[in-house]
């Protein structure tokens, strides 16, 4: 597709469950970012991939959060033992290179933990 694709668009889960969120970036974009956005707030950085490797994971809140990008394209954000405080919009973005701020965002995956 032409833009960044994220699935699912909505995910409702119970506390303690495991969740995977998928991001399909724009074809050819080498840099991929995950952000988390709470209601009424700006996006907060989670992790950044350059190619297959995580170049910066300093934004991951704790070890329940993990992300992979095994082939340098699609990425999966994984959340173990979900907590109610994990409820947020999870945004994925990609860019052609990492040296500008021209990030192209997907429409996000809204996670609700009951």
């Amino acid at each position: 597709g032409a833009g960044v694709s994220q699935t699912p668009s909505n995910k409702v889960t119970e506390k303690g469950k495991y969740v995977e969120l998928r991001c399909d970036p724009i074809s050819g974009h080498t840099a991929l970012y995950w952000y988390r956005q709470s209601l009424g707030q700006g996006p907060e950085f989670l992790i950044y991939f350059q190619g297959t490797g995580a170049a910066d994971d300093s934004g991951l809140p704790n070890d329940r959060f993990f992300a992979v990008r095994p082939e340098g394209s699609v990425s999966t954000l994984k959340i173990q033992r979900t907590e109610r405080g994990d409820s947020a919009m999870y945004l994925c973005a990609s860019s052609l290179f990492s040296n500008t701020g021209e990030l192209f965002f997907g429409e996000g995956s809204r996670l609700t933990v009951l």
Binding site: Y33, G42, P43, F45, G59, L91, T100, E102
Partner: protein, 111 residues
């Protein structure tokens, strides 16, 4: 050091008015300052961006003013339209490559 402070939190203007949104930063290593526009249920979309070697940039009805010494930058929307009603985020990028976002300004343009 990594924060970007944005104001106001919300703004209401009449059609044709010129809303102004302000941002301030502390980290002098930031070297790229984009503005993003976000509509409800959508991801943020890049609107306009500036680097600190210029003091102003215009694209259509949108203008960024940049004051390097004050570490402040602002977005002006000329001849605002109801379709401009959205949430606007300033952001800053440095050597870490990640974007640091402001808290957002919800703009409403009344018809």
């Amino acid at each position: 050091q990594q924060q970007v402070k944005q104001s106001p939190q919300s703004l209401i203007v009449q059609k044709g008015g010129i809303p102004i949104i302000n941002c301030a930063y502390e980290n002098t290593a930031f070297d790229y300052f984009p503005w993003y526009q976000q509509f409800p249920g959508k991801g943020p979309a890049l609107l306009i961006a500036i680097r600190p070697d210029v003091s102003e940039k215009k694209e259509g009805r949108f203008t960024i003013s940049f004051n390097k010494s004050a570490k402040q930058f602002s977005l002006h929307i000329m001849d605002s339209q109801p379709g401009d009603s959205a949430t606007y985020f300033c952001a800053a990028q440095g050597s870490a490559r990640q974007l640091t976002f402001g808290s957002g300004t919800q703009l409403t343009v009344l018809p």
